[in-house]
């Protein structure tokens, strides 16, 4: 397999958009292609990550549609659907196309236009990934699975409501430094937990998870341009090498997991990604985790190997994972602050890491970031993809 690098990236501002899904995809794709500055080189293949176009936007075969809009014919193209892990899945497929030699230059675009429907419909749409007979029929939603998981973590490891709030506060603070982030609002511990008014400001969504423990519903698109590393060295000043990718699955029904507090798929995916890269968690400078719910940032940071089991909340408390800490997690604002257009998220995490490793992250730049890790969490942890990226110094 050849070495593969990211040579360009771009994204739209996440949030509430008035333009169509295709227009979002074009905007971020053009941004990434401009950033890559390919010159005479052609895009051989396009991979699109998306979960809901057929249901929310009544559109199918959107990868072919994107090729058309960008006049990239006759490039190869397909859409990839893997629930909330669609982004990293499309990226993984793009990587394989280049690594195998089947393509030299690949465009990966993840996008979602969720706000075409109201919030209740959006919740139901996301709930369609749960087990139809053993979960969905009971009114199980993704927040409810996260709520039950959170209760267990609180009982077993001493995670508190304050710890969850710390994740939300940190990520919304980081998002203020990210012009592409959906949420541009500072929140305080007083306002969301301690004041008597907090019961209205921050009501339960799926107890013990509250409003500010859940990521927003967002529209948006993010794109990457992948290229064979040898080729990339000809034109790209700072290629970001894809050092490792790992993926693992777990049971569909969450109650069937052997240990219901263990994110096994995260652990296995991370293990594979690290093994492939030759690196270990202590070598990583900056991390993007999938905090669809604040508890997941804590749990994934442990399962991926950055902190011992049951101690992720301690590292959070100590400030280790803040923007200026020893291991910044979610400098972009994470899903909580940056937003979560489902198909775009996995790609957006890698866009942030690319900017960080290229020194282009402006006000939220992590100093001397040379290697990064991302975790894209599909379903409620039954399909997870982990990635390790490393800066190639020219």
């Amino acid at each position: 397999m050849r070495q593969v690098a990211i040579v360009g990236c771009g994204m739209t501002k996440f949030g509430r958009s008035d333009v169509s899904l295709l227009e979002l995809m074009c905007e971020s794709s053009l941004g990434a292609l401009r950033h890559a500055d390919l010159g005479e080189r052609w895009v051989d293949a396009v991979y699109v990550a998306n979960m809901g176009a057929a249901r929310l936007n009544k559109q199918t075969a959107i990868a072919s549609a994107l090729v058309d809009r960008l006049s990239l014919f006759p490039a190869m193209a397909e859409s990839v659907e893997n629930g909330p892990a669609s982004g990293a899945s499309a990226f993984k497929n793009g990587f394989l196309a280049v690594a195998s030699g089947m393509a030299n230059v690949v465009l990966v675009t993840g996008a979602e236009k969720m706000r075409a429907v109201n919030n209740l419909e959006a919740t139901d749409f996301v709930a369609s990934l749960t087990h139809p007979e053993a979960e969905y029929i009971y009114g199980v939603t993704l927040p409810s699975l996260a709520g039950m998981f959170t209760r267990l973590c609180m009982e077993r490891f001493g995670v508190t409501a304050e710890h969850l709030a710390m994740v939300a506060i940190k990520n919304q603070e980081n998002a203020l430094k990210n012009p592409f982030a959906h949420i541009q609002q500072r929140i305080t511990m007083e306002g969301i937990l301690h004041a008597p008014e907090a019961v209205v400001n921050n009501p339960f969504v799926a107890d013990p998870l509250r409003l500010y423990d859940c990521c927003p519903v967002s529209d948006g698109a993010a794109s990457l341009v992948l290229c064979a590393l040898d080729l990339a060295r000809e034109f790209c000043p700072t290629p970001i090498r894809v050092a490792g990718i790992g993926q693992a699955t777990d049971t569909h029904a969450v109650h069937e997991r052997p240990d219901p507090t263990q994110l096994t798929a995260v652990h296995l995916a991370a293990e594979k990604a690290f093994s492939m890269s030759g690196l270990s968690p202590k070598d990583i400078d900056v991390v993007e985790l999938h905090d669809a719910f604040t508890i997941l940032e804590i749990a994934e940071s442990e399962a991926a190997g950055f902190f011992p089991r049951g101690e992720g909340h301690v590292a959070l408390e100590e400030g280790t994972t803040s923007l200026t800490g020893a291991l910044p997690i979610n400098p972009s604002g994470g899903l909580k602050g940056r937003g979560h257009p489902v198909g775009a998220t996995g790609v957006a995490q890698l866009v942030e890491l690319t900017w960080q490793l290229r020194g282009e992250a402006d006000a939220r730049q992590v100093k001397d970031a040379k290697s990064g890790f991302a975790c894209n969490f599909g379903g409620f942890g039954n399909n997870v993809i982990a990635t390790v990226l490393v800066r190639e110094d020219s």
């Binding site: 087990h131 009971y138 009114g139 939603t141 409810s144 039950m148 998870l209 969450v254």
Partner: protein
């Protein structure tokens, strides 16, 4: 009368009981199963009150629980208990758990023992 019971499966080869059912036994790879009715008593593993409900539900919140059943599997269902507690003993009942369009959908409910 419509059968509203909920079933898992027992592998003919190794005896492992699974819920929900799989086509291939996760323990031994076997492909032949007997249905096992999900019933009896169990212990609450975890629960939550869900507030942001899909359009099929008109109530303010819904109490869901995951229960460790004595018969050897776990199950997810609606927890009909005013005072839920992790570790509390409950038993399986069957009731209407969702109303989709005109259809009434039956499923697992857990009630205090």
């Amino acid at each position: 009368m419509m059968d509203t019971s909920v079933y898992g499966s027992r592998c003919n080869a190794c005896g492992k009981v699974s819920y929900p059912a799989h086509c291939v036994c996760p323990e031994c790879g076997g492909g032949a199963f007997e249905p096992v009715e999900i019933s009896g008593e169990g212990t609450v593993l975890t629960y939550t009150d869900v507030y942001a409900l899909p359009l099929d539900y008109a109530q303010r919140y819904l109490r869901l629980g995951m229960v460790e059943l004595d018969l050897g599997v776990r199950a997810t269902g609606q927890l009909l208990d005013e005072n839920p507690e992790v570790g509390k003993r409950v038993r399986v009942a069957i009731g209407v758990v969702r109303q989709s369009d005109e259809k009434r959908i039956y499923g697992l409910q857990f009630v205090p023992v």
